[in-house]
């Protein structure tokens, strides 16, 4: 049996205390939004997908069987919702180049507090969406490979390979950026 503090909040919600759901939203919103943003790359879409995920989770809370952590179950909803939003984005023939520049500028604006964060945000743009997401799940919330596989619906081995590839690629990107920075100084 998994001990998850979210389970007691879920009990309150299921017994009729709808306002208690705000606790879960406040706890998971930042991470849910980050995952959606890694996949969708635009803040308005990520915000909409994250909100939609919370509403879906609320309506399906009774089907959550508690054999896993709430976060694993919920982030799977976020992942699937963001991926289906992404499909919709593609159907609308969105200009990918414009999106990447938009995200880059926006990410820079938010993250220029520290150089490290700025470099990572830039380096992340060199990865594809699936690698970016796997990397975020691994480092931000420190999910295990098995949990990431559960969230993304992929095989653990696939996640392992994807994650290793993403980490190597990101290390290369950071190295190139820092070398370039040193040259231009």
């Amino acid at each position: 049996m998994i001990i998850d503090p979210d389970h007691s909040v879920i009990d309150r919600i299921l017994s009729g205390d709808q306002a208690a759901y705000a606790e879960l939203v406040n706890k998971h919103k930042s991470y849910a939004f980050t995952i959606a943003l890694r996949i969708l790359q635009t803040r308005p879409d990520a915000e909409e997908a994250a909100q939609d995920s919370f509403i879906k989770a609320y309506h399906n809370l009774r089907s959550f069987n508690r054999q896993a952590k709430f976060s694993t179950w919920f982030y799977r909803i976020v992942f699937n919702t963001a991926v289906s939003y992404k499909r919709r984005q593609r159907q609308h023939f969105q200009d990918i180049e414009t999106t990447v520049i938009h995200y880059g500028q926006e990410a820079e604006g938010i993250l220029e507090k520290t150089d490290k964060k700025k470099y990572i945000a830039k380096a992340l743009l060199a990865l594809n969406e699936a690698d970016r997401t796997a990397l975020s799940l691994f480092y931000l919330e420190e999910f295990s490979m098995e949990e990431i596989a559960e969230i993304t619906g992929m095989q653990t081995n696939t996640i392992k390979v994807r994650l290793h590839r993403a980490r190597l690629r990101l290390a290369e990107e950071l190295k190139t950026m820092l070398n370039h920075e040193a040259i231009t100084l």
């Binding site: 909100q51 879906k56 069987n65």
Partner: protein, 173 residues
């Protein structure tokens, strides 16, 4: 020296602490003598530490929670309906294909359909000197494989789109 992909993976597992004691010891021995490998490990460790401490966590808008709570009583968007519809179409397609080919098979349509594949005519003569066998292909075997394949696909789709959600719903209620 160019470090191979396998050793890169090993370095990452070493950083994560997921190597066995024997594997870690073997890698440490290798690191003692291989300067390039040691440099690569340092780079990967630096990147790992940076990601652990500074991977940006984004913040949604300030009224995010309020918006979610306001919309809680509205039904969520019905995106899930589309994959189910697609799955049912796939299930119907697989069953129609399986039944259709089975009917043709039963009527003896494929009984006389055979072909011979002469590999000797296709082989690169300068590379393969020996005589290679000629294959006789019977359409019945191929069609049987197609029918079995379709039935397997139909079962998988049936399980994922109908049975699994049904039993999950029953369990949760």
């Amino acid at each position: 020296m160019k470090t191979s992909s396998a050793i890169h993976h090993k370095l990452l597992e070493y950083i994560d602490g997921s190597l066995t004691a024997a594997e870690a010891l073997a890698l440490e021995q290798q690191l003692k003598t291989d300067l390039a490998l040691r440099a690569r490990l340092k780079e990967l460790q630096a990147s790992h530490t940076t990601l652990r401490t500074a991977l940006p966590r984004e913040q949604p808008s300030r009224d995010f929670t309020l918006k979610v709570m306001e919309n809680l009583n509205y039904a969520p968007s019905q995106e899930a309906a589309q994959p189910i519809r697609k799955s049912i179409l796939l299930l119907a397609g697989a069953l129609i294909a399986a039944v259709g080919t089975a009917i043709l098979m039963a009527s003896g349509f494929f009984d006389s359909v055979t072909t011979t594949l002469d590999l000797n005519a296709m082989k690169p003569a300068d590379l393969v000197k020996d005589t290679v066998p000629t294959l006789n292909i019977n359409a019945r075997i191929l069609v049987n494989a197609v029918i079995i394949g379709n039935i397997v696909i139909a079962f998988i789709v049936l399980d994922r789109t109908v049975l699994k959600p049904f039993f999950q719903k029953r369990l949760s209620s």
